[in-house]
Amino acid sequence: MLKAFLYSVVLELKMYLRIPMVLFWIVFFPLLQLFLFGALFGGNALFEMKIAVVDEDNTAASQELLADLRKAPVIKVYTGKRTELQEKLRRQEVYGLVVLAQGFAATLAQSKAELTVWYNPAQGPRNDILFAVLQEAVRLVNQKLSARPPLVLVTQPIIANGKTMSYVAHLVPGLIGFCLLSVAIFSIAIPITAAREKNYLKRIWVSPIPKSLYLMSFLVAGWLIALMQSALLLATGFFVYDICPLGSWWALLLWLNLGIMAFMAIGVCVASLSATTVTANILGSMIFFPMIFLSEVYFPIANLPYILQNIVHCFPLIHFLQVFRSITLEGSPLTQYTTQMLILLVWTVVPALIAIRFFTWTGKNGG
């Protein structure tokens, strides 16, 4: 029986590799996105932009500039202690940090007047918007101060734990989440439904292999694909973009597997609720696309309407990503995230129970 099981897993894997669409969506598309976004925003992002300002100079000139920034379009200024604001920037709660260091007023008088803004590269495309907005604010300030040398905007990436944070480091976990969800929908939910639709599951039913073992081979193959693809993305990040997860590899592996379990349970659940491949496709897309677009796979979404935010937080992907990023970007221990762990477990158990209740081997002709 073990041989039959292992051979079955091997065949499932082969089948994945033989379906060009699956190969594209699960293997190449995430990599393609990584390279594309990496090229666009790798080194270095609509609405109200929160910018932190530290005024360490505390002169008339620095206060005037602060007042000008407050008046500038789009910008919303937060003030406070430098360390606190830096932490906010790191957690992407503000878009940028403008520092008016001591002696700022004095430099204004000389010819090299500079305004430094710190940004978090992990924000990706949001940074371009940050720079554009600040550039505009600086232009307005310069118009007013025609007698002085013009102020020049200088940008500085923040450093986390000795390494520059990069957008790619933020993107890799996002794309791993993308993969897990694609595997759940495109290699679990839809193929199982299709196998049932064409009576292949029925044929398995009347063969002497334990049915659960056969189903397991489906799941194990999906799990291996998800693991391999995650490894591929992490490795690409490491070798091409020089990013290395800060947290423990064990925590990462554990969390990844918890995530895979939850998403696979969702996949099987979709398969057990769909009578036809068409239904599975629709149901799968209804889960896949909103989850991908709203769960901060690509960059943080600050301005999501409150209701939508609550809905998104009911689904597991955003929590999976949040913790995954905390482990890789900040080196946080997993113990800090028991709530999120519970959420993933609920998302494993509930869909699994639904699947156990509604899964059929024989479709509507069964029983």
Binding site: K198, Y200, W205, S207, I209
Partner: protein, 303 residues
Amino acid sequence: MPNIIEIKNVTKKYGEVVAIDNLSLTVEAGEILGILGQNGAGKTTLIEMMEGLRRPDIGTITVAGFPHILNNRDYYKKIGVQLQNGSLQDELKVGEVLQLFALFHNVPVNRALALLERFHLSDKQNTMYQNLSAGQARIVQLVLTFFHEPNIAFLDEPSAGLDPLARRELWDFVRQHKAQGQTVILTTHYVEEAEEMCDRVAILDKGQVVRLGSPRQLIAESVTPHKIAVYHQSGVRFDLNTLPGISRQEEKDAATFLYTDNYLATLKHLTTLLEKRSEEVSGLTVQKTRLEDVYIKLLGKQD
């Protein structure tokens, strides 16, 4: 012969539709039983209940040696199943599918390969299932049904999609299989197939067995042993009922069929009669009656 399957007062409904209606039937060990009937007669429902795939609402199906058949892996080891609309995974190669099922049954794959060879499909081992023709796909399913030498084989419309030669080969194969003492149950709506292949035929109509017996018995109890066809110009009528031996006359547009118990006596009078109207007549044949005549007599007049 002992009975291998006993079906007692089985009823199966789908909502309001009564697919099988209080049906009882026994299958003898080592026989080929054909279940014949029109689309929707309940053939698939019946055979899948025997396979342990569907559960009867009322009544029992017992198979010798098995306490129950639904979801019983020991039973599935002993039977071979070809589903009516069965299919295998498109992206697997034929050789891989055979290997997989050989492992399921814990039987050397060579047996399956030998069977594939017998049906001249050895060269398709590396072909993906989706690239097989419909008939070739049916043959692969047939191989999966028989390679582990099941005690009972269930075939739901096995010849659908097969070309005439492949169909003959299937018949030969099934008969050979039976010769080894194994039981075969098949459904078909090709009357000729049932007549050629089966020891006994059950004609199913609206979920009930309306005739059961060997093809020869069914012919003998239902129609005369011979059938004479007179071909003529369309619209012409012959009144031949009064000829000796005739039990029934059937009119078609350009032909008249006569069922006779004594074809020589009938012919003698018929030829004299036809000579007088030779311009209107274009031909004459005498045939032994076939199961098809029984089937049409039984079910044809309903529509």
